[in-house]
Symmetry: C2
Subunit: 584 residues, 2 copies
């Protein structure tokens, strides 16, 4: 195979794998005038093309480097249409992981390979000119437009382990890490649920507890300790894991470990007043009642202060009382924090005093050139209207009259609405249909022909209270990635014909519309084929019907036909054969 001449090999390969012809066509199309050359060397066409393009003195493609292959990074790649960029992706994972089904892996409801898709196969399907590097970026150098990377492998010693990549545009989509809030012992003793490896470790650990509890050298009392599962954090991840674990125990393990069934206990610790507190109160109440019926012990107002190998110490928020409970396995799912590389980068660019990397509404990292950040690693630092109010007014008051004519007002108000999304939220929260209602409300001096500047100011000033950070969800990350790809796709076009709002502090318009998050609803599986579903507009559904809604949304969102088929067959398999309890 490796010894035969290239032509022989290539032609045999094409006979064997007709789908490669497609690759050749793609390469040819993107290569344009080099088609003849390509036909001879399909496999090297990308590199060859890049080299040839440079040597022929064509204008060099801009290099886009994407760090990370989570929701944000992959959404960017999947939506990038233009072949006018040279894209290089650096990530420690060579696959995309469909994170919403991660809790299902912990108990074997779904298999890990069913919810991952290799990055190379995603970009290959898109026919993009993308290089993938399995490595972790450990340093960003914004001055020299370079990122420094290191392989995550430690078992192969051939060749160097570090390299650097130059960029014209950098997309930081590295995600976040689990936040331990510096609670002692968590890092060492608790499980997290961010990656496939975590979920597999949890699966083993659950079985380990059952096997250990089955040993004859374990006393009745120790058995109960070992079979005490503690989940810290009452958010969707913690709640879903607790529900999955309960189902796994009652549906599958109870049959195989009948004598242990009565010794199992599950505790869900939440520092706040309620679990699922970002959901509607009806859902929270339903979930708490369901868990209580299921025998899952929900302890709210209980903050974990220390974790040791055998015990977990909690402090009651109301009484301040600290107590310790023995446990067998602990999942830590309390939220996310910035990754060390991001913290380092923030120090470099003067964001050291912030908790998370800040971008503007166009997802550009503040204080940097050509660097964008999307997903959990960053937050959109919304601009306060009051910061810019004098600029807005001077821009609006074209006649410098001290009041705004209706024409002048309409000349800026759409741009203001677009530039400062808090204004729309404020109107919504006040149940007002237009800005006129707000103006009318905030001053008696309101007239329908012109707008007093002080009235305008005081009306807008109320809106800043409505500024909210976007939640750290897959939905936000995916929308940001898609938004950014869309900007990159139309970079040249929008350079010539900017489509964004007026620049109040500068001249002209912004090139692009700012990023705007569209909330599509959220859901939390509660176990026992029950799911809570919350759509925008106060629409709440709980129960079996939403389980099916949940299934169908998940399946429609899955990455590829492969993952769709596999997840559905996993569900079918679980339904017929139950979950596997082999410790592998």
């Amino acid at each position: 195979m490796w010894g035969a001449s290239f032509y022989e090999r290539a032609s045999r390969l094409f006979q064997q794998y007709p789908s490669l012809s497609k690759l050749l066509v793609v390469a040819t199309v993107s290569g344009g005038s080099l088609a003849a050359f390509h036909e001879g060397r399909p496999f090297h066409s990308r590199t060859a093309y890049a080299e040839a393009a440079q040597s022929e003195g064509e204008s060099k493609k801009k290099k886009v480097v994407v760090l990370g292959t989570g929701w944000a990074g992959v959404s960017f790649l999947k939506n990038l249409k233009s072949s006018s960029y040279d894209v290089e992706v650096v990530s420690p994972h060579n696959y995309f992981l469909f994170t919403p089904l991660l809790p299902s892996i912990t108990c074997g409801t779904v298999e890990p390979r069913s919810i991952v898709e290799p990055i190379r196969s995603i970009t290959k399907k898109k026919g993009l000119d993308v290089q993938f590097r399995e490595a972790a970026c450990y340093k960003i150098d914004p001055q020299n437009k370079k990122v420094y990377c290191r392989t995550t492998q430690d078992n192969n010693s051939c060749g160097k382990n570090e390299f650097s990549v130059d960029y014209d545009y950098l997309i930081i989509a590295m995600g976040a890490k689990s936040n331990t809030f510096n609670t002692p012992g968590v890092e060492e003793h608790a499980h997290f649920l961010k990656a496939v490896e975590d979920a597999l470790k949890i699966r083993k650990s659950v079985i380990d507890c059952f096997e250990r509890a089955s040993l004859p050298c374990i006393s009745e009392e120790e058995r109960k300790k070992i079979l005490h599962f503690v989940v810290v954090g009452g958010g969707p991840a913690g709640v879903e894991f607790a529900a999955e674990l309960h189902d796994f125990v009652s549906e599958d393990l109870a049959k195989l470990y009948p004598s242990l069934k009565d010794d199992v206990s599950i505790t869900l610790l939440e520092a706040g007043d309620h679990i699922l507190n970002m959901f509607d109160r009806r859902i929270t109440k339903f979930a708490e009642e369901k868990f209580s019926r299921d025998g899952i012990d929900v302890k709210t107002g209980s903050q974990v202060v220390k974790v040791t190998a055998k015990e977990i110490s909690t402090k009651e928020r109301t009484t301040g009382h600290v107590s310790s409970t023995p446990y067998g396995m602990c999942l830590w799912a309390t939220g996310i924090g910035a990754r060390p590389e991001i913290i380092e980068f923030m120090k470099q660019i003067g964001q050291a005093n912030r908790r998370v990397l800040a971008t503007d509404e166009w997802l550009r990292v503040e204080g940097c050139d050509g660097i964008y950040a999307v997903g959990d690693c960053a937050t959109v630092n919304q601009r306060r209207i009051m910061e810019d109010i004098s600029h807005i007014i001077s821009k609006a008051d074209t006649g410098k009259s001290g009041t705004l004519s209706l024409e002048e007002f309409h000349g800026v108000i759409d741009d203001v609405m677009e530039r400062y999304p808090q204004l729309e939220l404020h109107l919504k929260s006040k149940q007002m249909s237009s800005i006129h209602d707000l103006l009318k409300n905030s001053s008696e001096k309101y007239s329908s022909t012109e707008v007093d500047i002080e009235t305008f100011k005081s009306a807008l000033s109320q809106a800043d209270s409505q500024m909210k950070n976007l939640p750290a969800t897959a939905q936000v990350a995916a929308q940001q990635g898609a938004y950014l790809a869309n900007c990159f796709n139309r970079m040249e076009e929008c350079e010539k014909y900017p489509e964004g709002p007026l620049r109040f502090r500068g001249e002209g318009r912004h090139r692009f519309h700012p990023f705007r998050y569209k909330h599509l609803g959220m859901f939390a599986p509660l176990g026992g084929e029950q799911t809570a579903f919350q759509l925008p507009g106060d629409w709440v559904s709980i129960g079996y019907s939403s389980q099916w809604l949940w299934y169908s949304v998940y399946v429609s969102k899955l990455v590829s036909w492969r993952t769709r088929v596999l997840v559905v067959s996993d569900w079918g398999r679980r339904f017929i054969f139950g979950r596997d309890s082999s410790r592998i």
Copy 2:
């Protein structure tokens, strides 16, 4: 759930899971007179029954301890019918692994969960009174009939880690470990292929090599080194892995890593003259030719003398020349050796000078009482006819006449044939249909009415040369386990009415027929939908047709309906979507 009273819980559970009623029925049937008691406490019935049986002074069940859950151990469990034993299984794996498909896991043709089945679910289906302990036996004490065990978990510190188990009968079915022949560096740098974990590590390692070779810091030369895969050992495991790897590279990875395809090389090192040397020469030749066409470099007569992190050193058998080759990943598949616990045990029972634990033809460990060994951890130490020849003759020559009348001859010859299987093999090898031919052949003094003792002796003496050890295969292990279970099932019956051959050195008959291996054929998948198949009686089939035979044999042999369905769906999935290359 855990808080409610037992009756409530139990009744709710039965409503929810009707299949548990079956468990209750099983428990009731085996419990007999304790049925009323069981109905109230279905989950504790086993323990309760054991306790009750003891306290009521009934004759205590004999305790059978099985060490290991491989082919031999599980085959024993699956064939054990009698509920008159108290069975305890100790194994570091809580599942049975269908090892013939292990090479398929290394490249993702089949998923690991598709070829494992939890021991508890196997024994539960059989309705057996079996306790399973996930632990490794580290010491056997044959004097006190005790085994000492230790948990294999290291992450949970609650309770003790060691315990001992008493036995009346001990079945050692612990398998073997990979044999490195003390070659330096193998343990540290090479991969083995004995367990699921090994196969998963290999799968990761293959992808690691491809990802590492894709990094920009790797030179052309280094890339070739990293993509050099070396398989040591030309037996079925090594050949199948090389074939699987070749298919994985050419069918799947070539599409995703097009620029690396030409840098991949696979080398198969075999110390002997041919690969697959236990197969028919036609198969060996076909395999060698196919591998050569595929570009797999088969080097025979090449013995590995040292492995380092970067290089593998080989010595040519003919020239003695030692050379080193850089490599990226190395699989060591040269055969098996005794496990350290078994070596320790052999020292205790006076088998220190042997390479592997020896049993007699009834699979009883020589020099021990009530200990049996089955599968790869042991070998049947066949008795030479010449050791017993004088006893045979004195038993045969009832008239003490110095010659054997035809009646006397027929009185022992069937027992001799059964007791010494080499005799039948010898006849077969000489293409003789009966012992008379042999006698006729070995002496001119042969008459059809009586047999001269010297003639008899000299005829039998030839047979000992035909003694062969059984191969270390799943087939042998499974047959041994089933044989032993059958003996245990009929222990009492055969005690009264022994069915085995005459005891030449003692009185009466052996209780059981000795174990006799029935070879059902063997096959080796050679990649590219080709399989070599060899059935007893010189029947050889190579090619696509035997691939289907291979599929159907595998499926029919799979442990449960679950594993059958999953393996078939894995094959279908591979056919449609290819193998996944995500590094998880």
